[in-house]
Amino acid sequence: MRIRTLNVREIVAALALVAVGAFMIWEASGYPYGSLSRMGPGFFPVWIGIVLIVFGVSLVLEVRHLATPPPVLAIRPFTMVPLGLIAFALMIENAGLVPATAVLVLLSGLGSRPVRPRALFWTTAVITLLAYVVLIRAIGVPLRAFWW
């Protein structure tokens, strides 16, 4: 039998699931386990953790020699889109809907390549304006438009 290379990425992904299962058992072993006829809060999670480990280990066996091309991480959208949403979450209640929306659209818009400054500006302006007119003026959601 010829020696095949190990698909490290796939193995790591499967092992991550095994780790989740192990963590579940560890955490839920601190909960009351109960008995079969009167299950405690720990019963179900412990067994889910065990099954997850079994499946995770089988997955390692299944994928260890897979010849899939390495996945490509699109780093720009991967950073800018979550950043935009986090900024939105941080700002919406304090800074107000208008700045939060503008920052969300601007930041997440920077995620696509190439950056088109004019298109991005107009996208931001139009979405922010619509958000203000529709949500604040027309529907009257209980949110501030600005921080003042």
Partner: protein, 504 residues
């Protein structure tokens, strides 16, 4: 319920469905559905999640009519970009591109679009008929179910959802279990014990469905689409009403495939746990097998677009059967719909069919109206939808993110839910990168707490005796089906574990 009673229910339903408000929101729903269906990178799941907060102000029946409209509307729209651009609008029309795009290259985009719309209508209509007749029967049958049967049928549903799909069944099963794990987060119902909350107050009542779904399907989809934007070269003026008219031969070739596709779609869709995507693949495979000349497939065979499109619409409509009559979602989309119904204080299941029979009637009636509306929206107005494809993605996705952000926030007025979206967006992105399906994860997450509850109840009554699951005939049948399905789908893996070299 007899057939006459069912007809009377639906007839009464038309009275509600023809009210101005119902018509308006049915129209809005199917229009949004077509819109997101046409656009690649925007799924029906994200659309429903975004529209969910908007429906809080509506009557539950109207809200359901609108949300359901998005579901089946998306099936109509999704074939458009498959055929014209070779980019499926949603997964369920990936198969349509196989023969639809070659038809476009041959200058026959018009007939392809026309035929998919008509077969969508036929598939949808046949499945609605099936649903009218079947859903009340199932519900009546299910009234006799105890916790043991519910546990077994949910188990079957989860196994079906993860193994009857495209890709590795083991990855699907693992995702189901991971979903069950997510479902454990929150307060234990019986004891009030905090599980996996790590002192975070917001996790006390568990992870909320909508932010998890929006992250896994909305944000993750955006993350993987932004990287690979494509330039569309399509001339909207080339799709005129006249160019739509199919030839006599096209029509003759599509009749039987449409009927076969509808049957496959309705059958698969009605099973709990299996969705429209797999139905289209099966319908296509069936056509290829029965065809006199299978080599035509992939080179613009009209059967290759007629059958899968009939199948996906039939499957989407038939998926309402287990959803409404058992409370068990057919696929991840239905799971979100169940979540929506629960937010409106309606619990789907056998009781739904007896207590809210008027709602069932109205919903079925609205399906008929919605499908006719879609016919109108998709044939004379096709040029409009084609033009939509010109909207660049770099304008679209920031807008979608805004809708996701504000939509999630407004459900509970809680910033924490936006962070949940971010986390599950990243998780979903990694999952799709390694070809782990996200739909079984969501199904497990939703059914997990219910399964645990039914398991507890069953074993409480049987005093810890597991045999109760095998002693009740319905439960035993369901478990036997589950075991067979599991064995069948894991067979290749078991073989390779015994030392024989795997072929993959």
């Amino acid at each position: 319920m007899t057939a006459v009673e069912t007809l009377a229910t639906v007839a009464a339903g038309f009275e509600i469905a023809f009210s101005l408000e119902a018509l308006l929101f049915c129209f809005i729903g199917v229009t949004i559905g077509t819109f997101v269906g046409v656009l690649p990178g925007v799924g029906a799941m994200a659309a429903v999640s975004i529209c969910l907060p908007l429906t809080f102000y509506l009557d539950p029946t109207i809200a359901l009519i609108m949300l359901a409209g998005i579901f089946y509307g998306a099936q109509y729209g999704s074939s458009t970009s498959s055929i014209l651009l070779n980019i499926p609008g949603t997964v369920t029309s990936a198969v349509t591109a196989l023969d639809g795009y070659p038809m476009t290259l041959q200058g026959r985009a018009g007939p392809a679009l026309f035929i998919t719309t008509i077969t969508s209508f036929i598939g949808g209509s046949l499945a609605i008929l099936l649903m009218m007749w079947f859903a009340p029967v199932v519900a009546e049958f299910a009234l006799r179910f105890s916790s043991a049967e519910y546990f077994s049928i949910m188990l079957l549903g989860l196994i079906a959802a993860s193994t009857l799909s495209i890709g590795s069944p083991l990855k699907g099963l693992t995702m189901v279990v991971a979903g069950l794990a997510l479902g454990c987060v929150g307060t234990d119902l019986n004891t009030g014990w905090f599980r996996f909350t790590f002192g975070v107050l917001e996790l006390g009542d568990g992870l909320h469905l909508v932010p998890v779904a929006m992250g896994l399907f909305g944000v993750a989809e955006i993350l993987s689409s932004v990287g690979r934007e494509q330039k569309f070269t399509i001339d909207p003026k080339s799709i005129t009403l006249r160019s739509l008219v199919p030839t006599r031969q096209d029509v003759r070739d599509s009749v039987l495939p449409t009927l076969r596709g509808s049957a496959v779609g309705a059958g698969i869709g009605a099973l709990p746990g299996s969705g429209a995507a797999i139905a289209t693949f099966m319908a296509y495979a069936l056509e290829k097998r029965v065809a006199k000349d299978p080599s035509r497939f992939g080179r613009g065979a009209v059967e290759g677009v007629a059958s899968p499109e009939a199948a996906n619409n039939a499957a989407v409509q038939a998926a309402f059967i287990p959803t409404l009559s058992l409370g068990i979602p057919g696929d991840a989309l239905m799971a979100v719909l169940i979540g929506a119904m629960m937010i409106h204080g309606i619990v789907p299941g056998p009781q739904f069919m007896s207590e809210h029979i008027d709602m069932f009637g109205a919903l079925v009636a609205s399906f008929w109206i919605g499908n006719v509306l879609l016919l109108v929206l998709n044939i004379p107005l096709i040029g409009l939808w084609v033009r939509l494809l010109a909207i660049p993605y770099h304008v679209l996705y920031p807008a979608m993110l805004f809708f996701i952000g504000i939509g999630v926030y407004s459900i509970h007025n809680n910033v924490f839910d936006i962070y949940v979206v971010v986390v599950f967006g990243v998780v979903g992105y990694f999952l799709s990168m390694f070809h782990y399906p996200a739909a079984p994860l969501l199904l497990g997450f939703i059914l997990g707490p219910l399964m645990e509850e039914h398991l507890k109840r069953t074993l409480l009554i049987s005093q810890g005796d597991f045999m109760v699951f095998l002693e009740r005939p319905i439960s035993m049948t369901l478990l036997a089906c589950s075991a067979l399905l599991l064995l069948f789908s894991l067979r290749p893996l078991l073989k390779s574990a015994r030392g024989r070299s795997p072929t993959g």
